[in-house]
Structures are given as C-alpha cells and as structure tokens.
Amino acid sequence: MDYRLRIDNTDFPVEVEVNEDLQLNVMIGEKKYIVDYTVISDFCIHMAVDNGIRSGNINAFTAYGAYGKNVVINGRSYMVQDIDSLAQAVRKGRQPNLPNEITPPMPAVVVSIPVSIGDLVNKGQAVIVVSAMKMETTLCAPFDGTVVRINAGINDKVVPGQILVEIEKDG
C-alpha cells in the first residue's frame, strides 16, 4: 500500500507492507522501519519502532482536523496531509488562504472596517481589522484597486478562508 504524505512543505513517499511476524514494514523514502503497534484509545496509538538502531516505544496521539491529521509525538505537533486528497480539495476549490485574498489568518472577530464599497485603496492599505484572543490583526489590500464587496460586519465571527473584503484590481 502506498501513500504520499506532506508535513509542512516536505513530502514523504511511503510504502507499507505486513511482514511474516504481522508487523508493518514501512519504507519512508529510502528509510526502512519495522513497526509493532497497539491501538490504545480513540486518540492514542502505541508504536514500537525498529529502524536498525532500536528506537523503542512511541506514543502517538492523532485526530482529524480541518487541514489534515494532527499528530502529536513527544511534545511536537505535526499536521500530516495526504497529498492525493489535498490535490482533490484544490480541484474542488477548497484550498483556503490564497495570497491575494483578504481572509483572516485565524478564527477571529471583526473589530473595524475602515473602508467602504467604492473606495479606491492602495496596496498595503488597511481594509479590515480583526481580533482574536485580545490580539488585533490588520488585513491590508494586496494590490491597488477598488473595494467592490464587504462580506462582514463589526463583531461578526469570521474564519480562515472566508473572504471578508473583495477588491477589484486597477486597470
């Protein structure tokens, strides 16, 4: 069985098979791992990993999230994505946070909207201010243009991917 996974910006091609001792033989790129595992709970998997040098016992905690599977091991948190299903998501237009769009970087509340529909704005000009956990973030125009739509009001709760202000490029 093959997987193509991504963590951050690194891709991991994976091949998995079951060996005669009913362990998993996993190839990650050129590296080989032999893994025994036990499912401990809905969120916890115990792995005994052998990669030549015995690296022993690992407890891994996993849960699905909005952008992939969240995995926590030894205090470190990873967002692991399946490249194939990611590609599918992009085709369906679900990819959030495209660089040229005005969308909050985290779930937030709208604090102020210093522009109105029809306003001409310059690249870098503040168009909407959101707040999350007492920290304010100002979202700016990505290019010169005209404000054509405002999709949020003061005190609205907004999430990443939601386009708050639409700007039509000049020219």
Binding site: Y3, L5, I7, D8, T10, F12, V14, V16, L24, V26, I28, K31, Y33, V35, Y37, V39, D42, F43, I45, M47, V49, I58, A60, F61, T62, A63, Y64, G65, K69, N70, V71, V72, I73, N74, G75, R76, S77, Y78, V80, P105, M106, P107, A108, V109, A132, M133, K134, M135, T137, N155, K157
Partner: protein, 495 residues
C-alpha cells in the same frame, strides 16, 4: 470569614480561586458568558450565574452586572483574578460603596499605582529606585525631545495608563522620536482610553525581576522572594522561574526591602507584585506594581509553601498575616511555562478552536493549572492562556529536566500551542546557563521552526491510524464530546 465569594473571572485563574475557596469551606459563585457555558469554571463552581454575551464589555468587564450578580447571589466578596477587572479601581470602589469586599487593594491604591507617573512619584518619595525618566506625562514634542536628550538615547516611550506592552516604543535616535510618540499615544488611547505618554531610559540587556508581596490591613508587610520573568514575547511573559539565577542573597535582601518599601509607600493591602528591571551591573529599578494576583504566582507557592490565594482571602477578611519575613523560606526551584493557544511558528498568532483531545502531564513536582478539557471550544474572545505548567524540583537543573519531560508528555490536539517551542527554549544553552534577558526570544528564537528529525514517526502514526481505524473522518472530528445542548435534546425527545 466569608460565606460566599463571587469569582469575577474565567479560565484557569477562576478555577484556581474556586479550588482554594472549596478547600476553605467558602461557597463560590462563577459567572459566565455565552462562550463559556461549558467552560470549566462554569462547571466546577458551587453555583454558576449567566452574565451576558461573549463580548467582554457586556459580561466579564461589566462592573454593574458583576456587582448586581454578587448581591443577588448573597456573596460577601468578589475575587477578580487577573486581567479583566482585576486592576480596575472602579470595581473596587463600587464594592466599597455596596458593602462588598473586593479581594485586592483599596480602590485608591489601585488608581494611584495604575498611573505610571503617579506610581513613579510615590516610589521616588518612598526611597525606591526608579528608572531615570520623566516625572509626568507630556504631549508637546519639543519638551519630549528635550527630555529624551537629557535622559540619553535609547529611550522608551510609555503610556501613563499602560500595561501588557501596549503603548510602548523603544527609540534609538532623535529622528525616530516623533513617530514613536504618535504611535504610542494612539495605541494607548485605543487600548486604555488615555493617550498620555512619558519617557524613560531604555535599559538594554536587562532582566525582569519581580517580588511577590503580602500586606495585611494591620500594616504587616512581607515579600515572598523574587520571580524572574525575562522570557517574553510581545512584552508578555512566557516562562518564569524562581529563584533567579542572578539574584544573590544580598541583592535579594535589598530588592525585597525595596518591594516592601514600595508597598508601604503606596499604602498597599493584600497581595501584589513589585516589578523591577535589573541591569547588567546589578542595579535595579522600579518598573510597576501589579495590584492583583499574578499569572505566575504558582512558582512562588511552590518554593515558599504559601497559598497566595488563601492569603488574599484571609487578608481581605481582615485577618493578620500569620507569619513574618523570617518565616518565609524558599526551597528548591520552580519554573512555569505558559501554554497559550497560539502558533509559535507564525508570530505567536492566536489559535482558538476546539480541543479535540487533551492529556495533561502529571507526576511528582508537576502542577498544571488548566482551564481546558477534551472537547472544550477555546473562545476567540478572550486571552489565549490555556494552562500554566509548573514544576518544582530540588535545584534548577532538575527543574529544567522535569519541565522538559512534562512538556514532552503534554498532548493538546486540535489547536496550536507553543509546547515544542518551550521544549527547545528549555533545552537551549542560553537558558540552561541562565542568560535570560528580556530580549531572549528575539535574540535566540526569532523565526523558530519545529525540528523535523522525528517527522518520520508522525508519518508512521498517520499510516497506522489510517490502517487501524474505521474510515469515517467525521467520527474523529467530533471526538468524545456530545454536541447536544439541553434545548436540542429536549426538543428531540418531545417530538
């Protein structure tokens, strides 16, 4: 002693206060907003009363609502925690007017010490060393420029009503001064409703050292030793420890005495914290007094064995301090790491949302003051602090080892946290050597990224999870939390 205390706060600090009330046999009333219907403080208090919508101004910051709720619930006293109304002289004054006990200093003290320039004057008159700088706020650029020249660059522009790093700018050269003053005043006006600014000498490579004080209403004042809180991001503390690696016994005695002097000069009653900057030459300067329980108070509790919240309540009830300065002895070393809901790989950007799964570290010498649980939705409206992980051990090296081990066992799925970042800070050479200055994070950890040497293990876990579990992602997303509310459920049942 009080029969019932209203806790005018939320999250881990409300729980902290509730625990001590329960141990003292005092009933406690929690208050909550819409966002906090399922918050731990709402669930764990003896009684929980709804305040209003999630917006702080209409719930946790609404003084009249808090006062009315306390009176309706027959509470004798109000504990404000930290943040929200804890340093609001208005709440203290309203309590005084309504015959409720405010568990904190008198309103006049809060007001005096809340104005940085008045506080500086009180301290100067009380013989407490203050940072060279201006005696009162000023708005004329000409005068500010003269003062900056007199103080000598670099200078720090500060908001008179300041706090939490807002309205603060470092200025290295005269030509930056005008802009910095304008920005600081604007920020201060927005944050505190008061745009007054003044200038202080900016101390490079300084450490943030603070002393916990306790003052009873009979005039007894003690300090509970120091805390070093130099590791900060955006002027907010991230890691605190006690004792400080650089405070010698002599310096401790001198600074402790200054802290007690500061309390006496301001007419202080109850628990408070006197903050100092300590420069590289071992000179220290008064920074400000926090007229409330401090986020990092647990490390002092760990080394002194004194329950600060219990002392606050006893003092507010008029009891004398049951001990003297000579009885205060520190044992071992304590460290606190603040676990915020934030992304250390992305400018410590807030990360609210649903906690899919939580597993807290535990064991000898480990305390986790925690306001979340598996299934809890961390609100976007409030402070990002999720929990405070505190360790105690016989010495600093063991405390660091214990904290690293505890962090590595901390599991929070669903939102971003700085756990891995904190592990790296603790493991770093400058931290281990005690080279902890206020510019620590920008100097050593700017642009930090999580190490990737164990990423293969995450890949293995992903694959095993795929293989071992039913392929229904929905089941995983909802986790162990029933989404039902009483209304929905009763509704269904009635059909």
């Amino acid at each position: 002693m009080f029969k019932k205390i209203l806790v005018a706060n939320r999250g881990e600090i409300a729980l902290r206060v509730i625990r001590t009330c329960q141990e003292m046999g005092i009933a406690c009333v929690a208050v909550y907003s819409d966002a906090d219907r399922k918050a731990l403080h709402t669930l764990c208090a003896d009684q929980a009363i709804y305040l209003g919508v999630s917006e702080p101004a209409k719930s946790y910051l609404d003084i009249e609502k808090i006062i009315a709720t306390a009176k309706n619930a027959d509470a004798d006293a109000i504990h404000p925690g930290y943040g929200f109304l804890s340093e609001n002289a208005g709440l203290a004054r309203r309590c005084e007017q309504e015959g409720l006990v405010f568990i904190g200093p008198p309103s006049r003290v809060i007001q005096d010490l809340g104005d940085k320039t008045i506080a500086r004057k009180i301290m100067r008159d009380g013989g407490v060393p203050i940072i060279p700088g201006m005696g009162c706020a000023e708005s004329l650029l000409e005068i500010l420029t003269d003062e900056a020249g007199r103080i000598g660059y670099p200078v720090l522009v500060k908001a008179a009503a300041g706090g939490g790093g807002k309205g603060m700018r470092v200025v290295h050269e005269e030509n930056e001064l005008a802009d910095a003053c304008r920005q600081a005043a604007g920020e201060a006006a927005a944050a505190f409703g008061n745009g007054e600014i003044y200038l202080e000498k900016y101390l490079k490579r300084s450490r943030h050292i603070e002393f916990q004080i306790l003052a009873d209403s009979l005039g007894n004042i003690v300090h509970l030793l120091e805390r070093e809180c130099s590791i900060q991001r955006r002027h907010q503390k991230v890691i605190e420890e006690t004792p400080s690696t650089v405070v010698t016994p002599d310096l401790r005695t001198a600074m402790g005495q200054s802290a007690v002097d500061a309390a006496r000069a301001s007419g202080y009653v109850n628990a408070g914290t006197v903050e100092f900057l300590l420069d590289e030459d071992g000179k220290y300067y008064f920074l400000e007094v926090n007229t409330r329980l401090q986020v990092e108070h647990p490390i002092t509790e760990m080394i002194t064995g004194i329950d600060i919240v219990q002392q606050q309540i006893r003092i507010a009830a008029g009891e004398p301090l049951g001990f003297t300065q000579a009885d205060v002895k520190g044992r071992g070393h304590a460290i606190e790491c603040r676990i915020y809901g934030e992304d250390p790989e992305n400018g410590f950007m807030p990360s609210p949302g649903k906690i899919t799964y939580l597993q807290e570290p535990s064991g000898p010498g480990i305390r986790n003051d925690c306001g979340i649980y598996s299934g809890f939705d961390v609100p976007v409206e409030y402070d990002p602090i999720l929990s405070k992980l505190i360790v105690w051990a016989a010495d600093r090296n063991h405390a660091i080892a214990r904290m690293k081990n505890a962090l590595s066992k901390y599991v929070i799925l669903g939102i971003k946290t700085p756990v891995a970042f904190l592990m790296d800070v603790l493991a770093s050479e400058p931290f281990q050597e005690g080279k902890t200055y206020t510019d620590f994070i920008t100097t050593h950890f700017e642009g930090w990224r999580q190490k990737t040497d164990e990423a293969d293990l995450a890949v293995l876990a992903y694959i095993i999870d795929e293989i071992a579990r039913p392929r229904s992602p929905q089941a995983h997303i909802t986790g162990t939390t029933g989404p039902a509310t009483p209304w929905q459920t009763i509704g269904n049942w009635r059909l």
